[in-house]
């Protein structure tokens, strides 16, 4: 049994149009991997396919979370199995307070009949909000409603901290963040790095990787990983762009 998030030969399409064309990568527990790639390479599709979004059809391949085949599970079951997706565009939930939402998500992880200890829950949430520099008023506000871009992303990280997944994908979490917010979000992620947890960070820019330093960097192009390297690869890409890799023969 391997302790990793393992994507093997993944093919997925939307409206009959194939986006992922045999994507393979493995994020072992304890590591942070980054996926970089030009627009339209399939970065966001990858995160949605792993989460189980119904618009996408998997035609081939597998996704394993440790020894669990995620593709056999419903969206919510994947979450409860330990998979978390920090959304690029987090959705608003009118009328549902942030605290109630996170509490419901935590409750969903408990055995039937067991109730959350409300006092301990709030204490824990307040401490994590402090780490993220979030005002307490965000507990009572409706989820993401009227939040600025940066507030939404912080809120994603707060949820991740509260749900303690085994593996998390951060989908362009840096987009729309100013440098201060970026640092805070990165701090939150770094605080969660542990030998028990793996991260896959999807980003367009190397900037985020200055703060969340990856162990491995993958380049995604046309639905496949075409190049894999260490953290220095991110700088190379920043400097030289993607063309030099794209024009290289595909590394097997």
């Amino acid at each position: 049994m391997s302790q990793s998030l393992r994507i093997e030969n993944l093919h997925a399409s939307v409206d009959g149009h194939e986006i992922l064309k045999g994507l393979t990568l493995e994020v072992p527990k304890g590591q942070v991997h980054a996926i970089m790639g030009p627009n339209g390479s399939g970065k966001s599709t990858l995160s949605k396919v792993i989460a189980g979004h119904e618009d996408y059809t998997v035609t081939e391949g597998s996704v394993f979370l440790d020894d669990i085949n995620l593709l056999d599970l419903e969206i919510d079951e994947r979450s409860r199995a330990g998979f978390f997706l920090a959304f690029q565009y987090p959705h608003e939930i009118p009328g549902v307070s942030n605290a109630n939402f996170i509490r419901a998500a935590r409750q969903a992880r408990l055995p039937k009949g067991q109730e959350i200890d409300a006092v301990a829950f709030y204490r824990e949430m307040y401490a994590k909000m402090d780490e993220l520099g979030m005002d307490r008023k965000f507990t009572a506000r409706s989820v993401n409603e009227g939040f600025s871009g940066g507030e939404k992303k912080r809120n994603e990280i707060l949820q991740m901290m509260m749900l303690e997944p085994k593996y998390a994908i951060l989908d362009e979490t840096d987009s729309g963040l100013d440098i201060d917010a970026l640092k805070i979000v990165a701090q939150g992620v770094n605080a969660m790095r542990s030998p028990e947890r793996g991260f896959l960070v999807i980003t367009h820019y190397q900037r985020l990787l200055d703060y969340i330093v990856p162990d491995v960097v993958h380049v995604l192009h046309d639905g496949r990983i075409i190049h894999t390297g260490g953290k220095e690869l991110a700088y190379e890409l920043e400097e030289k762009g993607y063309d030099w890799i794209i024009n290289e023969p595909v590394a097997a």
Binding site: R80, S142, L163
Partner: protein, 471 residues
């Protein structure tokens, strides 16, 4: 789908022999509605002649009036008036033992946290709810303050000088076909009088004097709150009620004298064979305030448009309403605001949820005549559709004449988006949990207006209604 199962369990087919009717017909008016029926009811109640005459006049009006199907649902035509018993005393109420109560119904009570004693009444095991112990303290306190809190029969018999002047005045017999029906055969309900300056601390609940008659088909309620006095009244409960009667037609009249305040809270969860056709209206004198807080769940067809006539300067009227229509149900609800004095203010906030093939309709009427000045109305109606087959309609009629008024109207129809559900499921919530949470979010700001115990029950009830709507 526990919800429909519950409803099914509640809608027991009487022919299956689950019920025993006592042979004694002494308190049964039989089927159908004639003058004889009315004489029967009046005799049983030992009513004064003027009430008997009032009833008989009402019967004529009822017979003469056509069904309002030119604007309302044709489903009304399915009511067979000849097949209805118009008066059943408690001795004739069907009973069953607790063991006979279906498990689903018991489970529902459990989940809603309905107190033991009330469960038995609601399930039809006990014809009477023994609340004397709980009520006696309250009653003593009320009596000391001069508050009268009795049923309609007692109110008209013991305190005619208080109630007769306003009885049938806010809602005249001929207001509509069903107010006429109620006026002919009314029974049960609450008659309340609060003397000047008395602010009743605790909400008065129909619970306190629950008995078979109180939860009758044709309740009649009249609440008079004298100058500067205040009261909150609550009726109904969130538990599915054991129903044998398919037609409910209540009339509720409120009178708020100068500077008085009345808050009338209703939470009803009818089984889906019930026609619930209710007329509710309040009369607000100078600087008085009347608030209707109304939650309607279930029933085959509910038609209910609580209203306020703002008769005195600076009077205020408010309707806050939540309606939830599930499969096969139609909630036709709304509000009526009649401005009849300067500087009067009205506010309507209505939210409806349509689930499955459920249908909700908002009908509003706001009337501000030309000769007045400084009147304000705010109307908000929001509808949430859960499934593709759900339906909602909005008919706001806002008539404002003259240019010295301020009105606002907002309406929205929304659906819980798939992306929102995806987001919530990604956090580990099942589809049903995600849907319940979304729907609770939609009505959250209104649910807060309900007293604590009701709002908690409401939330659980919405959870249960939503569970069956997905998957």
């Amino acid at each position: 789908m526990p919800d429909s199962a519950t409803l099914e369990a509640v809608n027991i087919d009487q022919d299956e022999g689950n019920f025993s009717y006592p042979e004694d017909y002494a308190h049964d008016a039989g089927y159908g509605l004639t003058e004889k029926t009315i004489d029967y009811i009046s005799d049983i109640k030992g009513e004064a002649e003027w009430i008997r005459e009032f009833r008989k006049r009402a019967l004529k009006v009822f017979n003469d009036k056509p069904m309002p199907t030119h604007w309302a649902s044709k489903d009304l035509e399915n009511i067979v008036f000849e097949n209805i018993r118009y008066y059943l005393s408690k001795g004739q109420r069907p009973t069953r033992s607790w063991d006979e109560v279906p498990d689903d119904v018991k489970a529902t009570f459990e989940r809603l946290g309905i107190p033991e004693k009330e469960r038995k009444f609601l399930a039809g095991v006990e014809a009477q709810f023994d609340s004397e112990a709980a009520y006696s303290n309250v009653k003593e306190e009320l009596t000391k303050e001069g508050v009268i809190f009795v049923n309609s029969t007692e109110g008209l018999r013991e305190h005619p000088e208080v109630f007769r002047p306003w009885f049938g005045k806010v809602i005249p017999t001929g207001d509509n076909k069903f107010s006429a029906l109620n006026s002919a055969v009314f029974s049960g309900g609450s008659f309340i009088y609060v003397p000047p300056g008395v602010k009743v601390k605790h909400p008065l609940q129909a619970y306190f004097r629950i008995n078979a008659e109180n939860f009758g088909q044709f309740e009649r309620t009249l609440i008079i709150v004298d100058e500067g006095a205040e009261v909150t009244y609550m009726e109904g409960c969130t538990a599915p009620k054991f129903e044998t009667a398919t037609l409910h037609s209540a009339v509720v009249e409120l009178v708020a004298m100068k500077d008085a305040k009345i808050q009338y809270i209703t939470v009803q969860n009818w089984s889906n064979n019930v026609f619930n056709l209710v007329t509710k209206r309040g009369l607000a004198h100078e600087n008085a305030e009347i608030r209707w807080i109304d939650c309607n769940i279930g029933s085959r067809l509910t038609m209910k448009y609580p209203g306020v006539i703002m008769k005195g300067r600076k009077a205020r009227g408010e309707v806050i309403s939540i309606a939830l229509a599930n499969d096969g149900q139609h909630q036709d609800t709304g509000a009526k605001m009649i401005h009849a004095a300067d500087e009067t203010t009205s506010n309507i906030v209505a939210k409806s949820i349509s689930v499955g093939s459920g249908r909700s309709t908002y009908r509003g009427q706001v009337h501000i005549p030309k000769h007045l000045k400084g009147c304000k109305n705010n109307t908000e109606c929001d509808a949430l559709l859960i499934n593709a087959s759900s339906r909602t309609d909005t008919y706001p009629a806002i008539t404002v004449r003259g240019n010295q008024h301020a009105t606002q109207h907002e309406a929205s129809v929304s659906q819980v988006s798939e992306e929102q559900i995806f987001y919530m499921k990604q956090r580990g919530l099942s589809e049903g949990e995600a849907m319940s949470l979304s729907v609770n979010g939609f009505v959250n700001d209104l649910v807060r207006e309900f007293p604590m115990e009701y709002s908690v029950e409401l939330k659980r009830l919405i959870d249960m209604e939503m569970e069956g709507s997905v998957g």
